[in-house]
Amino acid sequence: MTQDDSAVVFECSLDAPPEKVWRALSIPAYLERWLKPGDDVELAVMEAKENKSLTYHWREAGQGTAGDTEDSVVTFELTPTAEGGTWFKLTHAPMAVPVAANSNMANATLMAA
């Protein structure tokens, strides 16, 4: 058991500057359009650094007994690239399993591009 297998991580480059990606991630109407979170998911902003990183508390009604919920944390990190685009990194982890912000999770990283 290491931290490498306790989070889902995706990284890719996006053909838009961080300011634009930030709006797609932080404005609810845009978020709804691409994320389509579903009726059983509640999202709440936990931490926001404009144009740099955004962390949501992802609360999902469980499929078991009533009132059972699953808490997880989704963090989007945006880094400007030399070409004027954005290097995008998404980390999704169960809330109860802390993931070191700077850990090198090479094993769990999947290229989404």
Binding site: M1, T2, D5, S6, A7, V8, F10, C12, L14, D15, A16, K20, V21, R23, A24, Y30, R33, W34, L35, K36, G62, G64, D68, T69, E70, D71, F88, L90, H92, P94, M95, A96, V97, P98, A108, L110, A112
Partner: protein
């Protein structure tokens, strides 16, 4: 055992360290305490929680109890990870589509 429960069990750093040690060897409670500033009753408590969660197994040999990882113990965590590894790629594609449609 629900996913949520297993995550609570794994939230404790001592319990995660115990699982890491047991990943490579079967050990007694005394072996497991080596290097930890932790009392014997506290370690027993952690081991009990891990056993109840189905993450470790105990084998008695005379006065000694030996502990090892339970083979299927982390299955709920792996199920959770697999679900979101399947979920995100399509969403990231949708994000790329939206970025093309948005105004500057």
């Amino acid at each position: 055992m629900s996913d949520t429960d297993i995550f609570k069990v794994l939230a404790d750093p001592t319990r995660r360290a115990v699982l890491e040690r047991l990943a490579t060897a079967e050990l007694t409670a005394t072996d497991l305490r080596a290097g930890f500033a932790i009392s014997q009753p506290a370690m027993s408590q952690h081991l009990a929680v891990l056993r109840e969660a189905g993450l470790i197994e105990e084998r008695r040999e005379g006065r000694f109890a030996h502990y090892r990882l339970a083979p299927e113990g982390l299955a709920p965590l792996h199920t959770w990870l697999a679900r979101y590894e399947a979920f995100w790629p399509g969403r990231i594609d949708s994000l790329k589509d939206l970025l093309r449609e948005m105004d500057q």
